[in-house]
């Protein structure tokens, strides 16, 4: 879809960025020391820190990715909401208080508190950098996605703008500004999401689109089912098609390829049962993009060169209810339970796509609607990566179990979440702020189901980009809502990226430069080194955000969780709760967890398909999500290496200070 920037959107966006930068410059005075720069002096109030937790955690993945996934695949996106929140249980009951007691600046502080080991500092520092970078990718992709309709910039320019603003925030005031930016955006995100959900419920559901200027999908028929076996399809005297056998090369056999006999144009149609009579079929209009084989050529969209105006073609917005229960066409205002019940008993046009390599080297992508039962929409297994739930094969099911395990174990292992425990005064404050975080994050995740389903039937979706679903839903309620929601989502990206960059630069300065290289620095030099590291990590994030443009941000975050959970959680938990943990055990576990999860991801079918562009069948790992293998592997490695290296317990400090 081609988006036109509006002045109100630009104005609100600039105000948000201006406020964010003002907070940073005002807080700069409090960040002269390394304690201030990396941990906000440990003086942040627990309530502010709790909301800032929500700000940190409700990233582009949560807002853009989950809403987009629910809008296109239904319940599967909500599984991420459930998993992301469940992870906070580990953070609250297992990690929060001990990590506050043991650490000062970074996650490595806690791991190394008992051992004073360069090896631990090195592996923990590298792990922090790896997880931060993997988590940064979806945030930057999300930023590019947002800025395109908001300001009219290209994805690349959007990513560069975000990277630059974030580098400014982090280099001016580090953790102090990051915390208050997170507090602000965490509060606004939850508040405006609630407002949007109230508007969705108040509008109710309808088989007609709210936006009257929206393209109305063309429906041919009804025809008898025998029509499909003929060579010709006659709609009326003026409109006759030749039925080609091109659909044989498509994996979806419900798509029919037709050639108009008058002008020779080719088009694709989705075959569906007719509403009036299930014995008959109707043909639903699809959309196509032909991507050129060579750079510099314009893509062909719906048969015309991509662009605005009657001479050009563009993708039109989609997403409608096909049929409401009891033959109704609209419902009026609904309460949350009624809304879900009616969705469950309706039929919805869900849009999906299929790619086809053509003989001339171009790639044809067909976007087509699929009438889907509401019961299936609200059940798991619609998203391609979670289809295994409905499969009989055990490996397919393991992919889902592995993902849910990684989400559960990953939250409490994310570096930018862990360092937030150092910004409060005491372990009690750490616990209280986690509870505030869980309350606000949990509330937001409940809203995601309504936001996603609301977007699904809003008629506002861009079939080429699931990440834009939430802002486009807001646009359905007017330019102001669109501007505010987009600006909040943008601030969301700014806040999360800032937190990640602070975590990464802290790891470079404290763990790698000071801890491993033993390079003693004056306090102000530590801050300077932190700022230089922040600039380098920021530039890396910009490059990765451009490279991974087309991937769903939520799915990318799943990878970051897997690496964090596999590399960090085994060491953190066993250090706290198993006396036999040794220095060598921790080093081995972090390395094995990190390398195995990273290798698994790089060799997975999803990476083959989405990153390398290779056939997914060539992948050598049986399923894409590594957690179920690599998290236990981290635990086993730590226990085995610790047992092997515990020759003289008196020389090895105990992991349990009470022992």
């Amino acid at each position: 879809m081609l988006h036109e920037p509006s002045w109100i959107a630009i104005l609100i966006f600039c105000s948000f960025v201006g406020i964010t930068l003002a907070i940073s410059f005002l807080a700069a005075g409090k960040s002269k020391s390394s304690q201030g720069y990396f941990a906000a002096h440990g003086e942040v109030h627990w309530f502010v820190n709790g909301i800032a937790f929500a700000g940190d955690y409700l990233s582009a993945a949560s807002f853009l990715g989950i809403c987009g996934m629910i809008a296109f695949f239904g319940y599967d996106g909500f599984l991420y909401s459930i998993g992301y929140l469940a992870g906070w249980i580990v953070a609250l009951f297992v990690i929060a208080e001990p990590i506050k007691r043991l650490g000062k600046f970074t996650f490595a502080d806690a791991l190394d508190a008992k051992f004073d080991s360069r090896g631990i500092r090195l592996v923990a520092g590298i792990s922090t950098l790896a997880v931060s970078l993997f988590y940064l990718i979806p945030q930057m992709v999300g930023a590019g996605v947002l800025i395109q309709p908001l300001l009219g910039f290209s994805h690349e320019v959007g990513v560069i703008v975000v990277g630059t603003v974030v580098i400014m925030i982090v280099t001016t005031a580090g953790m102090v500004s990051t915390t208050y930016v997170q507090f602000l955006k965490g509060s606004l995100l939850v508040l405006f999401s609630l407002i949007l959900v109230v508007m969705i419920l108040n509008r109710g559901l309808s088989t007609e689109t709210a936006n009257k200027t929206q393209h109305q999908i063309t429906i041919l028929g009804p025809f008898s089912k025998d029509t499909l076996n003929q060579k010709e399809l006659i709609v009326n005297e003026k409109l006759r098609f030749t039925i080609t056998n091109e659909n044989k090369t498509l994996s979806s056999k419900s798509i029919l390829s037709l050639v108009n006999q008058r002008d020779g144009t080719r088009s694709f149609w989705r075959i569906e049962n007719a509403l009036e009579s299930p014995e008959k079929i109707v043909l639903l209009e699809t959309q196509t993009i032909v991507s050129p084989a060579k750079l510099g050529q314009k893509p062909i969209v719906n048969g015309k060169p991509k662009g605005k105006g009657p001479e050009n073609g563009e993708i039109w917005s989609v997403g409608n209810l096909w049929k409401l229960p009891d033959g109704k066409t609209q419902t009026g205002a609904l309460n949350p339970s009624q809304f879900l019940n009616i969705i469950q008993n309706s039929e919805i046009l869900l849009w999906t796509s299929e790619k086809l390599k053509q003989d001339d080297g171009t790639t044809l992508t067909i976007y087509y609607p699929k009438v889907t039962n509401g019961k299936d929409v609200l059940s798991p297994g619609n998203h391609p990566s979670l289809k295994g739930i409905r499969s009989e094969k055990i490996f397919d099911k393991l992919n889902f179990i592995s993902l849910m395990l990684a989400l559960f174990c990953g939250t409490a292992s994310l570096p930018h979440i862990l360092i937030r425990y150092y910004t409060v005064k005491s372990p009690t404050c750490a616990r209280n702020s986690t509870v505030v975080g869980i309350g606000s994050i949990g509330f937001f995740y409940i809203l995601t189901l309504f936001l996603g389903l609301g977007a699904m039937v809003s008629g506002a979706l861009d079939p080429t980009d699931s990440n834009m679903s939430a802002p486009l839903l807001a646009k359905n309620f007017g330019e102001f809502m669109f501007a505010v929601i987009s600006a909040i989502a943008f601030t969301t990206v700014l806040g999360t990226v800032s937190g990640l960059i602070v975590a990464a630069s802290g790891a470079v300065v404290h763990d790698l430069i000071a801890g491993v290289l033993g390079h003693e620095m004056e306090d102000h030099n530590k801050v300077k080194a932190g700022k230089i590291s922040a600039i380098i990590v920021g530039i890396l994030a910009i490059i990765l955000g451009i490279l991974f443009q087309k991937m769903n941000v939520n799915y990318l975050v799943g990878w970051a969780f897997s690496i964090a959970a596999s590399a960090n959680l085994p060491s953190l938990t066993l250090l706290l709760f198993w006396k036999g943990t040794t220095r060598q055990g921790i080093i081995a576990a972090v390395l094995v967890g990190m390398i195995s999860s990273l290798a698994w991801i790089l060799l997975s079918a999803d990476t083959f398909k989405d990153v390398y562009g290779l056939p997914p069948e060539k992948s050598i790992v049986p399923f894409s999500q590594p957690g179920i293998v690599t998290i236990p592997l981290g635990f086993i490695t730590l226990i085995a290496v610790s047992l092997l290296t515990r020759k003289n317990p008196e020389l090895e400090p105990s992991a349990n200070p009470n022992a």
Binding site: E43, H45, W46, Y75, F78, L79, S81, I82, L85, A86, W88, I89, V90, L92, F93, V94, E97, P98, R101, L102, G103, D109, D112, A113, D116, S337, N341, Q344, K375, L378, S379, P380, G381, I389, K397, F400, I401, M404, L405, F408, V424, K425, S426, P427, T428, C429, R431, N432, V435, I438, G439, G442, Y445, I446, L449, L576, F577, P653, P657, N658
Partner: protein
């Protein structure tokens, strides 16, 4: 580098898991595991209406989110008298 001696000098500095926390953690792990098992091996059960006409997958999902929030607040309430208040 933090001195391990100092980290045990105050009752606040005991990195053991609280028994109440452990209990709540185990309860939640049990519920979460049940949710995953039902989704993985009984997807049709998850699609059947259960609570206020909503299917089990949606009802259970809401219960897990609300359950986490309730356990978190309950945990703070149980431990309200322990440890310095602070800000």
């Amino acid at each position: 580098m933090k001195n391990p001696e100092n980290s045990t000098s105050h009752p606040e500095n005991e990195p053991n898991i609280n028994p109440v926390g452990l209990l709540f953690f185990l309860i939640y792990v049990g519920l979460y595991s049940l949710f995953i098992i039902l989704n993985s091996f009984f997807p049709t059960t998850m699609g059947s209406p259960y609570f206020f006409g909503l299917n089990l997958s949606v009802s259970f999902g809401f219960a897990l989110i609300c359950g986490a929030v309730v356990l978190a607040f309950l945990y703070t309430f149980v431990l309200r008298s322990k440890g310095p208040k602070g800000t």
